[in-house]
Point group: C2
Chain length 155, copies 2
């Protein structure tokens, strides 16, 4: 996956989480996803589908990072991954992919977004039917860590 | 979800499985999905995204049904859910949604398909960020059972 395609997702993660939750983060070195497992305790998945680009975007959070982010978003304290937290993960997934969609359409890669799916559980066996690598971008916040997994194939 | 939208998925399931695997099936009564869990041992998920319709389609198989279907598709005997079986689940997911896509575009509902995702494991907590109900359609084969879960919202 080209840097041209991944960078709008990275910028959108930083923009959405900072704006919505008031939480800053540091990006760690991106890598290629090597296993077929969910990284975090809760993951938001969204299908990306268009004539010029097809794939999925996943945001996968450890428990401390998502509880702090959703507490920041909703202005109350969350201590477990409940229905409000999983809904917020779906909303974040929508907003992050929406930001990347806008930036990529300006570069000529147009796609629509499917409905977000939320998975609860770490180390769930998951894979994508694509020969293209999935780029994994870790982000560290004050309380925890989350990863962006992006796979977008030019058609 | 209207019958107008669900019927092309049902017809495509029957057409693809019969054609690709030589396996016949009986449809049971459709219902609305009430829990937030994967139904079967292995599930293929695909995002559907367009200007007129958005959602996801899931095919979720118990172990006996998918092993017989993939054995029929690939012409050799499979006894465990290995990488070839999960890839075949992804291909089936692609083919079934592709058939429905074609039929629905003729009715004026146009969408593109994301890259299929395959999940291994029963009773994994999963939900969709949509207020629309998910229609669950069970199919019984000679060896086992699988379900179609379709959610498509008119935009």
């Amino acid at each position: 996956m080209d840097a041209e395609l991944i960078n709008p997702f990275i910028k959108s993660v930083e923009n959405v989480i900072t704006t919505m939750a008031g939480i800053s983060m540091t990006m760690e070195k991106p890598s290629i996803k090597r296993d077929n497992r969910t990284w975090g305790e809760v993951s938001g998945i969204i299908g990306l589908a268009g004539n010029q680009a097809t794939g999925n975007m996943i945001l996968s959070f450890d428990q401390p990072s998502i509880l702090a982010i959703v507490s920041g978003m909703l202005g109350e304290s969350f201590t477990t991954i409940d229905a409000q937290v999983t809904d917020a993960v779906g909303e974040l997934t929508n907003m992050v992919s929406g930001g990347a969609k806008g930036a990529l359409s300006e570069k000529g890669y147009y796609f629509e977004m499917a409905t977000p799916i939320i998975l609860v559980g770490k180390d769930i066996e998951i894979k994508q039917l694509s020969k293209d690598p999935i780029v994994l971008v870790p982000f560290v916040t004050e309380t925890g860590k989350f990863v962006l997994e992006a796979s977008l194939t030019k058609d």
